[in-house]
């Protein structure tokens, strides 16, 4: 069977037996999500890249002891979240850096240059608003808004209590609203 049709859990079984092709498929499948989770949490490109690599190395080395109790992505994202939390960096400085360097990220917007410029400006506004959140608040928002997890799934992924996630989520969206209000247009 084509390895692209394998589930993540099937790939993990093959990786435990030393199959590198399956590992390559797993990395290809999840690298972008993992990278964006780290980038949006820490706001620094090179650190996000290091964390993504480290996360996949941990997946590889833990393949033998992996038991699919939960979804593979829950386990994978938890590795990334823990690595991000361990990262002792001045996130504010890092975020300023990324909000000024959004050209590193391409957008799949086409055509009208005015539209492209608008998208770029909007992105900077969002990065600047995200800058104001704590690391935990950002993790919650990123998992919920960009990784499509419900608040219960966010709690599963992070290992934090449901009530903690709920209050983090409410607080961070309120903060974001206040921050975004400062950049006009929002109230229209």
């Amino acid at each position: 069977m084509d390895i692209q049709l394998h589930t993540d859990e099937q790939l993990m079984v093959a990786i435990a037996q030393g199959c590198m092709a399956e590992f390559g498929e797993l990395v290809t499948r999840h690298q972008e999500k993992v990278f964006f989770l780290a980038l949006r949490t820490l706001g620094q490109w090179d650190i996000a890249e290091d964390i993504s690599q480290e996360a996949f190395l941990r997946v590889y080395h833990a393949a033998n002891s992996y038991h699919p109790h939960a979804k593979f992505t829950t386990w994978l994202y938890r590795i990334v979240v823990n690595l991000c939390l361990d990262q002792k960096r001045k996130t504010k400085r890092a975020y300023t850096a990324i909000s000024e360097q959004t050209e590193q990220l391409e957008s799949n917007t086409e055509g009208d240059p005015a539209n492209i410029l608008q998208v770029k400006e909007n992105k900077q506004v969002v990065w600047k608003a995200m800058e104001k959140l704590s690391k935990r608040e950002r993790i919650v928002v990123v998992l919920h808004r960009f990784h499509g997890l419900s608040h219960a799934e966010v709690a599963d992924t992070t290992g934090w209590s449901l009530s903690a996630v709920e209050s983090l989520m409410v607080r961070s969206y309120r903060k974001l609203r206040e921050e975004l209000k400062k950049f006009g247009d929002f109230e229209k």
């Binding site: 690298q31 990278f35 890249e49 957008s107 969002v126 990065w127 928002v141 608040h151 409410v170």
Partner: protein, 137 residues
Amino acid sequence: MEHLSDIKMLDMLGGHIEANERERYLSHIENCADCRKHWHDLRQVWGVLGALENDICSIDLIPAVTTGINHRRSNFFLYARKLSKIAASILLAAFIGYGAGRISMSKSPEKLSLVVAETSYLVCLAPGSSTGLAESE
């Protein structure tokens, strides 16, 4: 119906609420000014955050991760080699010490008996004595 919580609204925005429940919530929002205002605000935040949704990056982690795996493998062997060298040195030192002790003891049996006597005397340590040793009565 009570006001909708932020969490319910956020899960609704994320598409995590079942269709019939969603309908019920939406009809409440329609009729409740407070919830309607709140829902409008959250939808706006949700929409603005969407600016990052279209980000794409042509990142390829496979070469770096593969290098990392090989590097750790070679590091492991390097570490294992170092560890085995240390273990071998300790074993060799212990063996030489033991051999040398045996030889020197076999050469002078009276020295051996003196060491045995001293050791058995030292075993009877008395905490109250000035020397720390048991004093003969």
